[in-house]
Amino acid sequence: MLMTVLDQFGAFAGALAGLLSQPVSWLLLIGASLLGITFGALPGLTATLGVGLLATLTYSLDLNMALIALIAMYVGAVYGGSYSAILLNIPGTAASAASAMDGYPMAQRGEAGRVLGLTTTASFVGTVVGMLALVVVAPLILELALQFTSYEFFLLALFGIIISGTLQSSDLVIKGWIAGFLGLALSTVGRDGLMFFPRFTFGVPELDSGIEVVPVLIGAFAIPQIIHGLREGDGAVRLQAVGRILPDIRTMLRNLKHVIRSAMIGVGIGAVPGVGEDIAGWVSYGTAKASSPNPENFGKGEPAGLISSETANNACIGGALIPLVTLGIPGSPPAVMLLGALMLHGLTPGPMLSIEQPNFLVELAAIMVLASLAMWINGMLLARQVVKLLRIPPSLFLPVVAILSVLGSYALGLSTFNLYLMFAVGLAAYFLTRMHYPISALVIGVILGPMADENLRRALMVGQGDLTPFVTRPLSLILVLAITLIVLSQLPAYRRWRARALQRLRTAGAGGDGA
């Protein structure tokens, strides 16, 4: 056992040295990582799109070089989304929506430098843990991920919507759930994924393929922020201090338990086929809040919240690669693009890969380490410049954001319909935000809607109407209990009971200490 680990490590070091001996790989690494961060930070350009575009651009390169570019892009884009989330409260990708929850308030307090440093370090740690999971415990995680059937997929989607609704409601929790279910309703527009039946399309051809996530994401986050900024004017805003940009290792260490738990959640969710970084961020954030001794700080600038979501969404990358390299099943949307790119290079990921190319996994791990290092270096250097954005007056800055939003919505399918959709969603989102409805719950509803809808109906088809598998399958039961607990925990009666129980515990604890 020890020998094989040592062998693996030797092969890993060899692969690392081999990759670093070529100057071209350095250039590709830094370049693709920068491009990835830019893709992530710009609303509308996603990790999936970036990896897809690079897949064709790197077609003529040899496989290792192409992989360096693709993985660096993937890692960079998942991380880059947090820039706009933290600085502008407009998440660049859905994966970083949870990072805005505490990142933005912290930046507003004048700690922008510290927040960016924390995000960068958390993303780095997440990516490396994901890589370790890929190399060391892949077979184990794979078997667990394959336990997911329609029952679990439905419950996971429901869990994601409920938890994101719960987390962000500033006054009434039910408002979060209402926003989430509004998103669910929007997601039913278009052809249903099972019987191909057109729903709520009203004969409009553009509605036939359904509501795209990107224009909804941009509309829901960017437009309310722009309108808000324009109403406030130049006078109201802008911080003087951004703070120093530090990796802030001390805060990371203090939150070590959050880091470890989030990384594990990220890897696990990444390994489940079809579920990606966006859900990992939310679930991890929710778990951190639920297990924290002071949940009331979450959403007001709590470093633990930021660390949890950022560690998890990057750990998701390694997780998503587990079913990809072991079975040829991509674990997340960007991994689908990665699969396409590998096949263009004549490499079919799957069980045969370890026999045909025994070194592939180790090389992939080496590339992931390089990609996360490049991301960290780029991040620490960039942060210094990026925070200066906060000093630009809104009257100059917001029009640029507006143009980028329009471009981002249009670029996706070159369709003007998406522009109208973005404006409509944006206006609705503005009024919903004014009424304290949390808007990310709506976006998560749109993202997870098809998964919830299709899997619930499929589960009923599989069981021919029988609902008992929801409680007899072990994983299902855990999810059902988790969802019930979240809903119960919001009831006033439960809250009173919990407060009393905590009170009793505290007095008992104090008494014990004294004795």
Partner: protein, 339 residues
């Protein structure tokens, strides 16, 4: 005066363009050709088009660029775009058999006959079962299904997809009745067979090969006339051997390739056909096909048109019968398939 000059200029420009068009048909291709793939980058249609374009341009004096334009209904966004370009052979559509549904789904009001397709090929469909399912042969599976009609769960991609059509044909040809569970694509359907949510799965060999070789799925029978050999597993027999009636309903095979507007000049079609014929015969394309379990068709001209006409009838009327067609195939003038 200025207005008149403008008019004259425009007239001259029109004349010039016309002259250029006439000249083009003869010495086609005089500039680069674009293939607009109507499905997403990285998918089967995209990969096949990039491969064939790279080979074809070696036999042409111009480059062939491949781009993607997705969206609409049944790939109608990309097809409408290419159809809106001049019929000069400089803009081609990268298509697959699924595009024949665009008409009955209300994506556009054309039949597929407005295209002249070139079929590179596709991967054959097969029936497989979960590794721990009790069925060792197709015969055992069909007998079990007949004993318990509508109980055995079969996964395939959404209603009206090519794999669903193969499943329907299997039911018609054997008289068995399954419980069809639809999935959003082939990959989730296969995952469901691995996790045991469904016992049986119908998708293509290209999509299943890794899971078969990992012994997560057990192949029972090809839904095509010939047996296929899979390395490390052995021969997968044809379903036709035990159930000869299947011949009347199958094969329904993928037809991936590209298409030029049917009203393009004959000289353009001939140039494309020559380059296409050489490309499908190349070692690179053959090697790729063998490695990825694709069957090369190489059909062009009338043969390709007939194939697509048959597929159009099959898909359109099946969707209509499932209630998923928004426009009746009758209205579009698509004849009902004989069987």
């Amino acid at each position: 005066m200025r207005k008149f000059m403008g008019g004259a200029g425009a007239a001259a420009a029109v004349a010039l363009v016309a002259a250029a068009t006439v000249a083009r048909a003869e010495d086609y291709p005089a500039r680069d050709i674009s293939v607009v793939v109507v499905w997403a980058a990285g998918g089967g249609t995209d990969t096949v088009n990039r491969l064939i374009a790279a080979e074809m341009q070696q036999h042409l004096p111009a480059r062939i660029n491949v781009v993607n334009r997705t969206g609409g209904v049944g790939g109608s966004a990309g097809m409408s775009f290419v159809y809106g370009q001049p019929a000069d052979g400089y803009t081609l559509a990268g298509i697959s058999e699924s595009n024949v549904t665009a008409g009955v789904q209300g994506g556009w009001d054309q039949r597929f006959e407005v295209w002249q397709p070139f079929i590179v090929g596709g991967s054959p469909d097969l029936v497989s079962v979960s590794a721990n399912a009790p069925y060792q042969t197709l015969k055992e599976l069909i007998e079990a299904a007949k004993a318990k009609p509508g109980e055995i769960r079969v996964g395939a991609s959404a209603a009206g997809s090519i794999h669903h059509l193969n499943l329907l044909a299997l039911e018609k040809g054997t008289g068995a009745k399954f419980n069809y569970i639809p999935y959003d694509g082939s990959a989730p359907a296969q995952n469901a067979a691995v996790s045991g949510e469904v016992a049986v799965v119908v998708t293509s060999l290209a999509e299943q090969q890794q899971l078969i070789r990992a012994k997560r799925l057990r192949p029972l029978a090809m839904l095509t006339p010939n047996a296929v050999s899979v390395e490390g597993i052995g021969d997968v027999p044809s379903a036709f051997a035990d159930f000869p009636d299947l011949k009347e309903h199958l094969p329904i095979q993928q037809a991936i390739g590209f298409a030029v507007r049917a009203d393009a000049p004959d000289a353009v079609k001939k140039t494309l056909t020559d380059a296409f014929d050489k490309a499908v015969q190349s070692d690179k394309v053959k090697g790729w096909a063998a490695q990825n379990f694709y069957e090369i068709s190489g059909k062009s001209g009338e043969a390709a048109r007939e194939e697509f006409q048959r597929l159009e009838g099959l898909f359109a009327w099946t969707l209509h019968e499932l209630g998923a067609a928004t426009v009746s195939p009758e209205k579009l003038g698509i004849p009902k398939p004989a069987k």
